[in-house]
């Protein structure tokens, strides 16, 4: 009888914990970051249903992200035990300083009695202020050594000037930096001296941008044989 009671109690407890739920309004927050905005915060409001919920952990899967459960307890620690009907928010503070373009990062939330963690995703779109199009120039080995152009465009409300530039293989890839509109638009014109041999080179730009990640930009140049093997397509594209 005692064993029966214990089993029944255990089963009951399991069922009750399964019925508890932390219901999120959304599990994906999209943020359009301003170019000079280093930190952005995604918010995931939730409500607890059933018989309450216990948070085991809430870990950011990147050092660029910090999670926080609010409201905090009176002693400023995180509130991990939630009763039915209570509302809260998980905040994810994202450091954009190393990113460009679109980036997804997640807070992994583990709840008591739940096998699978919940992933709360912050999708941040970080504008690229200094844009090189294309960022790589390629000549096929043996082809005509035609001049090719990289366009440098400033996508900002304020101008960003190129302060200096340098190529690491100017002998094979001499280039000219042409100013189209100072602070807004430039061209890097490259004409290889010889395409009969494979070669590689880099052209580095330094700018007067106040934002660290836009102080530098790099263009690449290469001469290479055409790939013999066609790209395979087994993977879903």
């Amino acid at each position: 009888m005692n064993y029966f009671n214990a089993t029944a109690l255990s089963l009951f407890g399991t069922i009750m914990s399964l019925s508890a739920k932390m219901v999120f309004e959304t599990k994906l927050v999209v943020i359009e970051a301003n170019p000079d905005e280093i930190f952005v915060t995604g918010e995931f409001p939730f409500e607890v249903t059933g018989d309450g919920e216990t948070i085991i952990s809430y870990d950011a899967l990147c050092s660029c992200l910090a999670g926080r459960v609010e409201p905090l307890l009176p002693d400023r620690s995180a509130k991990l035990n939630w009763k039915a009907g209570e509302k809260g928010v998980i905040k994810a503070r994202f450091d954009t300083s190393r990113f460009l373009g679109t980036v997804d990062k997640a807070i992994e939330l583990k709840l008591e009695g739940e096998k699978d963690p919940i992933h709360l995703i912050v999708r941040v779109n970080v504008p690229e202020l200094v844009q090189l199009k294309p960022s790589t120039l390629k000549w096929d080995k043996g082809s005509e050594a035609k001049e090719k152009v990289i366009k440098v465009k400033i996508n900002h409300t304020e101008p960003i000037k190129i302060l200096s530039h340098a190529g690491n293989n100017e002998k094979s890839y001499p280039y000219e930096l042409k100013t189209i509109k100072e602070g807004w638009e430039y061209e890097i014109r490259v004409k290889p001296t010889d395409t009969s041999q494979s070669g590689i080179g880099m052209i580095s730009l330094r700018t007067d941008s106040k934002i660290g990640k836009f102080k530098r930009a790099t263009a690449y140049v290469t001469t290479k044989p055409k790939l013999k093997m066609k790209p395979l397509t087994e993977a879903r594209e």
Partner: protein, 151 residues
């Protein structure tokens, strides 16, 4: 009470014996990370698919922290992550791709949800794949899939 304990003990012994026999007959359990090519997110690829590609057609990119790459990164892999300055890491990748062109780049990180491999793959795809004619894939299961294969 006594008979219950005996029954429980017998059950445990029989289960253990059955497990041992299965281990001996069938072999160790398959710890490979499950991966269904039909249900993968865009640009993701199963390790089993990669194993059908010529090895010299692949450049592996490790999107994990530097210490982990140094510890057990794929042989010949290049470190490109989102923890260090992009402009410091990108040149080594480009030198590899331009010096020894490969048709495929496979990026892996630690786990599902870390997001680093997806970010790095997107950046490489947008910046260079078109010009240098390579495909960029994300390894489903990340380093865990590679480690499980080795067991």
């Amino acid at each position: 009470m006594k008979s219950f304990i005996i029954a429980l003990g017998s059950l445990l012994v029989l289960s253990a014996a059955a497990g041992l026999i299965t281990w001996k007959v069938v072999g160790a359990p398959d710890r490979a990370i499950s991966c269904d090519p039909e249900s993968l997110p865009e640009h993701h690829v199963c390790l089993s698919t990669i194993r059908n590609w010529p090895e010299d057609a692949i450049l592996w990119v490790d999107a994990r922290p530097r210490a982990e790459w140094e510890k057990n990164g794929v042989k010949g892999s290049v470190l490109v992550n989102d923890l260090e300055e992009w402009f410091d890491l990108e040149p080594e990748f480009m030198m590899q791709m331009m010096g020894n062109p490969r048709a495929k780049v496979v990026v892996y990180c630690n786990q599902a949800g870390c997001g680093s491999s997806k970010y790095v793959a997107n950046q490489l795809r947008e910046r260079h794949a078109g010009t240098l004619d390579f495909e960029v894939h994300v390894l489903q299961g990340g380093i865990k899939a590679l480690l499980a294969e080795g067991k």
